[in-house]
């Protein structure tokens, strides 16, 4: 009889598990006579390693060159944005919020106003100063673009952390305890859920931008991050709750309960690991959504507040000059789209790698 090694997904029998019974009973065709010790067909060094689901997923991801390419692109964009202070102090020689309305610059031996007397900012110079031109306050757009990227990525990142932590927590509590937790948390979730994301985000954004919350100032970056996080919590909480409802009835959870494990222990050591792949799939998705919503709110004036820049505010500012200098709006737009696109492609790659059916699907 051959007992397949549960650790091996290739189904190779583990030789130690072979218990001699009837000859020819095994699928490998090794004839075993009772009592005889079989020589290890997978001798030291030739043993196929056991593969877990994460390793398998990583292996699939390693074959996905498109996803890897976009991951590199995303990392390049992040590094560029992180280098913003360096660019500002060593190349552009101007801070992100430094006005320079009356200044002039020298391009190719010709002196030009940064902002013309009738208020039109200079277009792209493609030199170290004002590479992408200036805005109506004479601020360097290239510097603001990089700082704006930091803002957008930071807000997206913080919001994603909020969504993942609280979405998982809410889903776990309501799915596991149902009853009381459901009664307390679900109406809240349903309310946020039935509220269109945009309306709620905008209402909160406009309101908090003015007053701030407690010690946090109105133009703090944490306010849009918090709003976006809160608005999207049910998007993770709902599917997590459904999965927990399914998992809690599974035999291994029942077994843990019978053994006397406490609820908290069951949730953290039995259920949470089973949610890991689902949460992993949601991370890039939520990051992309959060960055898009930030841009949307900032575009409407309900997100990042002056003097800070984000890609959303830069696109919004640039829209006024779309007929004369479209790069003002298209350059931050391109940065935003490239970032979200690369997150989405990598996210798709991760989803396909973690979803075992993905392989089957492609073959049909």
């Amino acid at each position: 009889m051959v007992i397949p090694d549960p650790r091996s997904d290739t189904g190779h029998p583990h030789p130690e598990a072979i218990v001699g019974t009837s000859p020819g009973g095994g699928t490998t065709g090794i004839v075993i006579t009772p009592g005889e010790r079989v020589a290890d067909p997978w001798a030291e060094g030739h043993h196929p390693p056991a593969i877990g689901p994460w390793k398998l997923a990583a292996r699939r991801l390693r074959r996905n060159y498109v996803a890897q390419g976009f991951l590199v692109l995303f990392l390049v964009l992040v590094v560029l944005c992180l280098l913003a202070p360096f660019y500002a102090s060593h190349i552009a020689h101007i801070g992100p919020n430094t006005n320079n309305v009356t200044g002039t610059i020298n391009i190719g031996g010709k002196t030009t106003d940064v902002v013309s007397p009738d208020g039109v900012p200079i277009g792209p110079t493609f030199s170290s100063r004002y590479f992408f031109g200036a805005d109506s306050n004479g601020r360097d757009l290239a510097v603001r673009l990089l700082y704006g990227g930091r803002t957008s990525l930071l807000i997206g990142g913080i919001a994603t952390v909020i969504i993942i932590v609280f979405g998982t927590l809410v889903g776990l509590l309501t799915g596991y305890f149902r009853g009381v937790a459901d009664m307390l948390l679900r109406p809240l979730m349903e309310l946020i859920w039935s509220f269109p994301v945009v309306i709620l985000g905008v209402a909160l954004g406009t309101a908090l931008a003015l007053g701030g919350i407690g010690p946090v100032k109105g133009n703090s970056l944490y306010i849009p991050a918090l709003i976006i996080g809160v608005v999207f919590i049910p998007y993770l909480g709902k599917p997590i709750r459904g999965e927990v409802l399914r998992l809690r009835e599974q035999d291994f959870v029942q077994a843990a309960r019978v053994q006397g494990m406490g609820s908290w222990k069951i949730m953290t050591s039995e259920i949470l690991p089973n949610l890991a792949s689902m949460i992993t799939v949601f991370v890039p998705m939520m990051l992309a959504y959060a960055i898009l919503l930030e841009a949307y709110l900032s575009f409407l004036g309900a997100g990042v507040q002056a003097p800070n820049a984000s890609w959303g505010t830069l696109i919004s500012d640039g829209l006024a000059y779309i007929q004369t200098t479209p790069t003002f709006c298209l350059v931050p737009g391109a940065m935003l789209v490239l970032t979200v696109l690369s997150i989405n492609v990598v996210g798709d790659g991760i989803r396909d790698a973690l979803d075992p059916r993905a392989q089957v699907r492609v073959r049909t």
């Binding site: 509220f195 309306i199 905008v202 109105g218 841009a295 737009g333 789209v337 989405n344």
Partner: protein
């Protein structure tokens, strides 16, 4: 059916109540926001502000203010703080613009995403599938306002194929109406086409591997029949749910960025202006207006569900 309608109406009223409380509450808890100052104008003296405050009832307790505001909204007397326009009248006057923006766009994205999603699933791994999926992932990565701006730049300024702004009522000139709204329709539809065709494709692929599909083929139905009546019909369920919600939200004014970029005088544009001016009544009415459509369409959703799937009964 009667039971269904009554229960749905009860939950609708409850939700509208909750939404109004939340929006009102959000603006009430802001310590530095004083609507009286907004109404009185920039150079108002403290006495004027106090007078305005008294006149509009901002010095009353919160629940009195809330009750008063709701009364004004439902009797059609509420005015916005900035231009002293009647909010309900503004919504009524602007709603046809939003309708003519959203309804054709919704039809466009629904048809396009079903066609594209189906082609993609039927030719999985092929050239058409890859092309559609690349386009779809691009579509979901572009924010609507940027797409609107790019379309405006390319097809209204760079190539003057379409007018850049303006709205012509359909009863005046249907051809001009469609001509002026074409770019806004596209910019709203692209995001949803991308999103829906991705969802539909993965649903279809899940469904194609189901046992009942093999059974249907085995009993002699053609591929076309199986796809249309068994696979597609079952895969459309989640699409129906998504569509109802998205459509409702857009009708309620969520097309505000498109309306702003293309300068269309719909309710979204009004809401966007209100957001810029921190004008509470239009934001409040807009949120309730949206919530109304959300509830209406989630009820319609259940009915469509029951029509698509005979096992579903209208009980909720």
């Amino acid at each position: 059916m009667a039971r269904f309608v009554v229960r749905r109406m009860a939950s609708a009223i409850l939700l509208l109540f909750a939404v109004s409380i939340v929006v009102f509450g959000i603006f009430e808890v802001i310590p530095s926001y004083n609507p009286a100052r907004a109404i009185a104008g920039r150079n108002a003296t403290p006495t004027t502000v106090a007078e305005v405050s008294h006149k509009f009832g901002f010095d009353k307790p919160v629940y009195v203010q809330y009750g008063k505001t709701m009364e004004l909204i439902f009797t059609g007397q509420v005015i916005d703080y900035n231009d002293n326009l009647n909010v309900d009248a503004q919504f009524a006057q602007r709603f046809p613009v939003t309708l003519s923006l959203v309804v054709p766009a919704a039809l466009l994205w629904l048809v396009a995403s079903i066609v594209l999603g189906s082609i993609s699933a039927l030719r999985v791994g092929g050239f058409a599938d890859r092309g559609i999926m690349v386009a779809a992932i691009l579509g979901v990565s572009i924010p609507v306002f940027l797409l609107a701006a790019v379309l405006l730049y390319l097809f209204a300024f760079k190539l003057p194929w379409f007018p850049n702004t303006g709205y012509v009522p359909i009863q005046d000139n249907p051809a001009q109406w469609a001509y002026h709204l074409f770019l806004p329709w596209i910019s709203i539809a692209i995001l949803s086409i991308g999103f829906y065709s991705r969802v539909l494709r993965s649903n279809l692929l899940d469904m194609i591997n189901e046992d009942f599909v093999r059974t249907a083929r085995a009993k002699g139905l053609t591929r076309r029949q199986v796809f249309r009546h068994h696979v597609l019909r079952n895969s459309l369920m989640p699409i129906v749910t998504m569509f109802g919600l998205d459509f409702a939200v857009l009708l309620g004014g969520a097309a505000l960025v498109t309306e702003t970029v293309f300068n269309l005088p719909g309710i979204g544009q009004y809401e966007a202006q209100a957001i810029g001016n921190l004008d509470v009544p239009p934001i409040l009415v807009g949120a309730m207006f949206t919530a109304f459509f959300v509830v209406l369409f989630s009820a319609l959703n259940d009915i469509v569900y029951a029509l698509l799937d005979p096992r579903v009964r209208l009980t909720a």
